[in-house]
């Protein structure tokens, strides 16, 4: 059974996280401060850590760095502030993803599952990544959409590969630019245009992207479900003008 360690000083938040995770079959361990969290992470076998940034005894980012110094365990960061630069910094420090409060349990579960899968894939070496109707074979470099092969240019494939390697998790703009153009040659404008071109080939409806989702000011995410906001609502129709 997957063990989740929740490090958060707010008892009410811990309570609903416990209920939510247990409802979906996880075992939950709680820590009310950084010291208890670090102790639990060291002493017990943990599969996933949910870490609140606002802890009474130590900065959440410091806890993140300390755990990352010895462990590769998937970590999701919770924060009440939604500062984009801070999100990028946390991802750079080794967080697998972040969720801004308030959030629904389904959002956190989706992120957690993506982080766990990525961790599992890095050990299992499963070469095929699936996101909705899209399938990417990271070894044979074959991409199919609803079973039909999709031809991508080299840069488009590099972009999709970087996103697929972290399917379900956010990948920062800088990481993608470095993957595609090296450290210096690319910029965010090129990346936006390349994403547009890639969406033309892999999205069912490029004007209503559901697979390659933008995280404003931070990066992109290859959404595993491939289900957009509009699809889940009743009574939605789209009409596009050229």
């Amino acid at each position: 059974m997957t063990k989740v360690l929740v490090i958060d000083d707010e008892a009410q938040i811990r309570r609903f996280l416990r209920a939510g995770f247990e409802l979906h079959g996880y075992t939950v361990l709680e820590a009310e401060n950084a010291a208890a969290g670090l102790m639990a992470a060291t002493m017990k076998p943990i599969d996933l850590i949910i870490l609140d940034l606002n802890l009474p005894d130590l900065e959440g980012s410091e806890v993140l760095e300390r755990i990352r110094s010895w462990s590769n365990v998937p970590m999701i960061v919770l924060s009440i502030y939604s500062d984009e630069q801070e999100k990028v910094r946390l991802l750079r420090l080794g967080a697998d993803d972040y969720v801004v409060k308030p959030f629904g349990i389904s959002e956190l579960l989706a992120r957690s599952e993506a982080a766990l899968r990525r961790h599992l894939r890095s050990t299992n070496r499963d070469p095929v990544v699936r996101a909705g109707p899209l399938s990417i074979d990271l070894v044979s470099r074959m991409v199919t959409l609803q079973g039909n092969r999709v031809q991508l240019t080299r840069k488009e494939y590099t972009l999709l590969h970087a996103l697929a390697a972290h399917v379900g998790l956010v990948v920062t703009h800088q990481h993608l630019i470095k993957e595609i153009w090296g450290s210096h040659d690319g910029n965010i404008q090129y990346l936006r245009i390349l994403v547009r071109k890639l969406r033309q080939k892999v999205e069912i409806d490029p004007m209503h992207p559901t697979l390659i989702v933008s995280e404003s000011g931070v990066g992109y995410r290859l959404d595993r479900g491939g289900k957009g906001a509009l699809d889940s609502r009743r009574g939605v129709s789209s009409a596009y003008c050229a």
Partner: protein, 543 residues
């Protein structure tokens, strides 16, 4: 290196004051004539050299071509000497020039005698013109010196007033005044409080010697508004201490460190201190420094209070709300609740209302932040499609009971905006559209490119706007007709104001259109569009 240390290196630039003045240290008088010669030796020698140069040139030219405008050439040294060094060197040049011209160029040669009456008239006329010119040139020089000194003073005062503008406390002000005096005087200068314990450190952390403080206290106690004294400290630095009136914020004396060999500089410094204190007092009075300090202190405290409030509200209110919203999301997934329509409806109601409350708190926080610090957008190239998708995802729950249609043009270019701010603004429009229109009615979201603008529009079939409301829309805390008729219309009325502010910060504008009450509203966000693709960019994107 500190500012003061830099100043210390400059302190040997002495203030030029005639040495014949009364010396505070020795009290002796010196000969005016000796002092004059000593002070003007270089200009006089230079003037004579100019006259000699003019004579040599004239002699050479005269050897080849006999000249008959000799006095005219001697006007050059006169003008140069008068403009460079003043009237005395100018007059010396005039008379020396006349004498030399007579000696070398007028018959009989090599004698000061003149045999031709015409030559006498020539030289007298030259002397008259040279004297007048010398006088005018000297005046011009004096005025130039005054103007350049004023300019320097104004520059220093400007720098002083700028440093005053950043003062938040009385202490900051005292340091600013000290800095100004030290800079202008070229000596380290310290203001001393009326009652000192003799241990307080100066702005740069170095203490004023106890003996200097004791002397200052004695002087202040003597109640003489012009009292001053020199404090000699053996082979260590000497200080000039002077009482100041009126006091500057309770500081009643000034001490200037003159270095280890003050000599006669003390007199000049004392005089300069008087001038500067008079100027500083007037400046402080004009700048209403005391009032400005009080205002700045109040503003500073208000800001601290506002930040504490914003931080407190953010944490104390939003954290419990995050728990409520989280609990609701778990409850909604529990089989017992999901299978019981009544319980599910209740949980949904709690979820919706808590979400509404969270939005309102966020609006209040945004409004407070905008009012306090303005909006500082972080511009980044963004795809308008991403903005629409992100907002639809954020407002998924709020729009669930409406019929949402999209009309997105494919040719919309990238925009250079702060995507988070634009998303919040567009989110506000969608919130309002959902709030002020009936459940099940259509909300149409469109994006298009119009000339050099990218336009996002949200059109609802709701309660519409009157002409008056259209003009008022977007003003802070606007609440109009539609707020009173909508079934569920809680809110501060801040939403559109926040949206307008965020869009304005991105260089865009917000426009509202409505055919009238109950005929729906269309609100558009207009943002500046970007430049077309360049070949270089195409190369970078293609393989």
């Amino acid at each position: 290196m500190s500012t003061f240390q830099q100043r210390r290196r400059l302190r040997d630039l002495t203030v030029s004051v005639p040495k014949g003045d009364v010396d505070l240290v020795s009290g002796q008088h010196s000969s005016h004539w000796t002092i004059f010669l000593a002070a003007n030796a270089i200009p006089i020698v230079a003037t004579l050299a100019l006259v000699w140069l003019a004579t040599v040139i004239l002699a050479v030219v005269n050897y080849f071509v006999p000249l008959n405008f000799v006095p005219l050439v001697y006007m050059l040294p006169v003008v140069l000497a008068a403009t460079q060094w003043g009237i005395v060197p100018g007059l010396i040049a005039a008379f020396t020039g006349a004498a030399v011209a007579d000696f070398f160029f007028y018959p009989p040669l090599y004698s000061f005698w003149l045999e031709n009456p015409q030559d006498i008239v020539d030289l007298l006329l030259y002397l008259l013109v040279a004297t007048v010119t010398s006088n005018l040139a000297a005046r011009l020089r004096k005025e130039t010196v005054v103007v350049s000194r004023r300019e320097k003073e104004i520059t220093e005062l400007h720098a002083f007033s700028q440093s005053l503008a950043t003062c938040l406390t009385d202490r900051d002000l005292i340091f600013a005044v000290q800095d100004y005096l030290s800079n202008t005087l070229r000596y380290r200068t310290v203001l001393l409080a009326t009652a000192q314990d003799g241990s307080e450190a100066d702005a740069d952390g170095t203490a004023v010697p106890a003996v200097v403080r004791r002397e200052a206290v004695k002087l202040m106690a003597a109640n003489d508004p012009h009292a001053s004294t020199i404090v000699e400290r053996g082979n260590r630095s000497t200080w000039l201490v002077r009482v100041i009136t009126p006091q500057i914020l309770g500081y009643g004396a000034i001490a200037a460190e003159l270095g280890d060999s003050p000599g006669e500089r003390a007199a000049a410094v004392a005089q300069r201190v008087d001038q500067l204190l008079e100027e500083a007092t007037v400046t402080l009075k004009h700048l209403k420094v005391k009032e400005a300090i009080e205002e700045a202190t109040i503003n500073y405290r208000t800001e601290i209070l506002r930040d504490a409030l914003v931080g407190g509200v953010s944490h104390e209110l939003r954290t419990p709300l995050a728990s409520i919203l989280g609990c609701c999301s778990v409850l909604e997934e529990m089989p017992a609740i999901r299978n019981d329509p009544r319980s599910h409806a209740l949980v949904e109601a709690i979820h919706d209302q808590a979400g509404e409350l969270d939005n309102e708190i966020r609006d209040l926080l945004d409004a407070t932040r905008i009012s306090a610090k303005g909006v500082r957008p972080q511009l980044m190239w963004t795809d308008p499609t991403d903005i629409v998708s992100a907002v639809l995802k954020q407002k998924e729950r709020r729009l669930a009971s409406h019929w949402v249609t999209l009309d997105l043009a494919r040719d919309v270019p990238l925009v250079r905006v702060d995507a988070v701010l634009v998303e919040q603004a567009l989110g506000q429009l969608l919130e309002n559209a959902a709030k002020y229109s009936l459940v099940g009615s259509e909300i149409k979201i469109s994006s298009r490119c119009e000339q050099d603008q990218v336009v996002f529009s949200v059109k609802d079939q709701g309660s519409g706007l009157t002409v008056g409301e259209k003009e008022q829309l977007g003003k802070r805390s606007f609440r109009g007709h539609r707020h009173s008729v909508a079934a569920a219309s809680p809110g501060s009325g801040l939403g559109l104001w926040i949206a307008s502010t965020f869009i304005a910060a991105n260089g865009g504008s917000v426009h509202a259109e409505s055919a009238g009450p109950n005929l729906g509203t269309t609100i558009s966000l207009r943002l500046p569009a970007t430049v077309p693709d360049t070949p270089q960019r195409v190369d970078a994107i293609n393989d």
